[in-house]
């Protein structure tokens, strides 16, 4: 098995070492197989990383922005990458926020500190390959008013692209980080990693919108570490990609930590959306709540597997997990597998999972008011998503997401 290697001749010594270790780990682990629980139902056996090339520079982008200028007019900071390379930092007065490109930093950064161990080959490959591992640090006690927007775009045809972002939310800070992942109509493989580190009492709202072309495949990991009394809310919107995987690891490591993990996903055409979640309670008095909602249309597929893990020292824990998927067509397929692994008796845990067609009573009600069937179905699905959309951290961006979902639902079934 071969993991492409990239020469990062100008890397600082510490990063070169980190990359070399990650590369070795990736080679050693090799590609996983669909036999493994974490990769069950995935087309992992079809992936050949060596068929992609490593971009040496960012390519010229063709597609427009997912978020128009108006929707992010209040941003504190806008960061752009193309093909994994940092191309732009637009600081609009974000006091107390520092952006570092680890490949240009002689001193060691937070890159690789949240995801210190190996979770899979692709996350290791990301560290080995990422041309600009970014770190955004919010200083202690700082409240960042507008969102910090990080836009990743993939423009190189045939490229293996490895965007990486590490957010360090300082003690008692408050901030909103929004990542947007888009592409041109190119064939590409995206190996993305986002690390979120919350110091004690930090409050971070995080939203990621993935709207890749269906010719692009993605294997992404989002790993969070939440320290004492800190609160993280994450919201993932999975819209694009031919095969698009997002693994979410949320770790409550300090007493009183809270993680709210939400997602909406919408599959159409021949898309395959693969969502894996881990809620890990390491410390006592911690709480996590996961709520995923999706819809699959045409011949698309969705896979959800989730694990709540309560470690032995984690007493007085509340952990909840819900995934609901609507199948909009007979040809669509959805799998939902929740799991619990509990090593402490003092816990409140629940998981719920449902896959089913659109609610016939709801549809009938709207139809009885004269709403044509396809529109009634669109409204029901939008309504189903609206709980999650309403909790997105930025109303302007939520509105863009909602409009995009409506457009997608309108166009679906015609492909």
């Amino acid at each position: 098995m071969s993991i492409p290697e990239m020469s990062h001749a100008d890397d600082p010594v510490w990063l070169a070492e980190l990359r070399s270790v990650a590369h070795e780990r990736a080679v050693e682990a090799g590609l996983p197989s669909a036999e493994e629980e974490q990769w069950r139902y995935s087309p992992i056996d079809e992936i050949d990383l060596s068929s992609y090339y490593l971009a040496k520079h960012p390519h010229e982008r063709l597609a427009g922005e997912f978020l128009d200028a108006d929707s992010i007019a209040d941003a504190a900071l806008v960061i752009d990458t193309v093909d994994g390379f940092l191309t732009n930092v637009d600081d609009r007065g974000a006091d107390g926020v520092v952006v570092i490109d680890s490949s240009k930093s002689e001193s060691i950064t937070a890159t690789g500190t949240v995801l210190a161990e190996s979770i899979d080959t692709f996350a290791d490959a990301n560290l080995a390959l990422s041309p600009s591992p970014l770190v955004v640090s919010i200083a202690a006690n700082v409240i960042v008013e507008g969102p910090i927007v990080v836009r990743h775009h993939i423009a190189g045809d045939g490229g293996l692209v490895a965007p990486r972002l590490t957010v360090v939310a300082g003690e008692n800070s408050q901030s909103t980080v929004i990542e947007v992942v888009t592409s041109d109509e190119v064939e590409a493989m995206v190996l993305a990693v986002t690390e979120l580190s919350l110091a004690p009492a930090a409050r971070l709202d995080y939203l990621v919108v993935q709207n890749l072309a269906t010719s692009v495949w993605q294997i992404a990991s989002q790993v969070s570490s939440i320290d004492r009394d800190a609160r993280l809310a994450t919201n993932a919107v999975a819209l694009g990609g031919g095969y698009a995987r997002l693994r979410t690891d949320t770790r409550m490591v300090g007493r009183g930590a809270e993680g709210n993990i939400m997602a909406v996903y919408l599959g159409g055409g021949d898309q395959s959306l693969d969502l894996r979640t881990f809620q890990t309670h390491v410390a006592p008095n911690t709480r996590s709540n996961l709520e995923f909602r999706g819809a699959v249309d045409d011949r698309s597929r969705s896979i959800y597997t989730g694990l709540i893990r309560i470690e032995p020292d984690a007493g007085s824990v509340e952990a909840y997990q819900t995934n609901r998927t609507i199948k909009l067509s007979d040809g669509a397929w959805a799998e939902s597998v929740p799991n619990l692994e509990i090593e402490n008796d003092d816990v409140k845990c629940s998981h719920a999972s449902a896959v089913g067609p659109i609610d016939a009573e709801q549809r009938f009600y709207l139809e009885s008011r004269g709403v044509p069937t396809p529109i009634a179905e669109r409204l029901v699905v939008q309504g189903f998503f609206s709980d999650i959309v309403a909790r997105m951290p930025h109303s302007g961006i939520a509105a863009v997401v909602e409009a995009h979902v409506a457009d997608r639902l309108q166009g679906q079934g015609q492909r």
């Binding site: 709801q362 139809e367 008011r369 009634a376 609206s386």
Partner: protein, 263 residues
């Protein structure tokens, strides 16, 4: 002038015959009331006219001005001029009544501009707190609020014929007065034709009935004027329940179907 014509309608649910040949004709401006004991098939009749899934029409026809409604999708029946105020209005999370009215207007080729004002005006007419209009359809509304919400939509959509399936259930006296007099006004101002299903005469205090039909065991056993409702309220169904039926309805025995929970 429009006419809803139901003729020889036989409907099964699963293996069970629910309607056994129903004939009815409701024209613009008229108010027809269907009364009958529980299980007589009243809700089946209203659902089948609107096309709710789960009912099998085995014989008969339903037409609106000659158009075969049974051949149309539910939304097409609504666009043709039918409206059903449901007995138990469905909760539709995350969907506002305004968005539904806008889509209905748009599908009808009407401009949806001003739909919000129409909604507010209709809400005001029946004392429905317009803040409820902002909520998801029927979500977290009380039974009475849901019925008022149905009445608001009826006022906005202005159908030719409205079926009111126990509009009065769950409504307090004031709300009932507001809703039934709103419907009565529509029969006069907009020539709305009404097919109302109810257990109680009190709906008819404001809404002036032209015809009363008694539905027992899937058949209309008697039709008459408003005096029939008064008789029913006084004497119950006993006279009708035994007519043409050997196993006199169990649901009639022992309970008074006219026992009004609000009185």
């Amino acid at each position: 002038m429009s006419t809803l014509t139901v003729s020889g309608l036989c409907v099964n649910v699963g293996e069970t015959e629910i309607l056994k040949g129903v004939d009815l004709e409701v024209s613009s401006g008229e108010v027809h009331v269907i009364m009958g004991p529980n299980g007589a098939g009243k809700s089946t009749l209203s659902n089948v006219i609107m096309g709710r899934p789960g009912y099998e029409v085995v014989a008969g026809s339903v037409t609106l001005d000659g158009v075969d409604l049974l051949a149309l999708e539910t939304w097409e029946r609504a666009q043709a001029g039918m409206f059903l105020a449901m007995q138990y209005p469905t909760e539709v999370p995350g969907v506002s009544v305004e968005s539904v009215m806008v889509e209905s207007f748009t599908a009808a080729g009407l401009s949806p501009v001003g739909v919000d004002q129409l909604l507010r005006a209709e809400a005001d007419r029946i004392g429905f707190d317009s803040r409820f209009l902002e909520r998801a359809l029927n979500v977290d509304l009380s039974g009475g609020e849901k019925k008022r919400n149905e009445t608001v939509q009826l006022g906005v959509l202005r159908p030719k014929i409205a079926i009111l399936d126990e509009l009065d259930s769950g409504l307090d006296i004031d709300a009932l007065r507001a809703c039934s007099s709103r419907v009565e006004a529509m029969t006069n101002e907009n020539q709305l034709g009404v097919l109302a299903i109810t257990h109680y005469n009190r709906l008819l205090h404001e809404l002036r009935a032209d015809h009363i039909h008694i539905l027992v065991k899937g058949s209309i056993v008697e039709s008459g004027g408003p005096e029939l409702a008064t008789e029913l309220e006084r004497d119950g169904y006993a006279r009708f329940a035994t007519a043409g039926s050997d196993d006199a309805s169990a649901s009639v025995d022992g309970i008074d179907p006219f026992l009004d929970p609000l009185l």
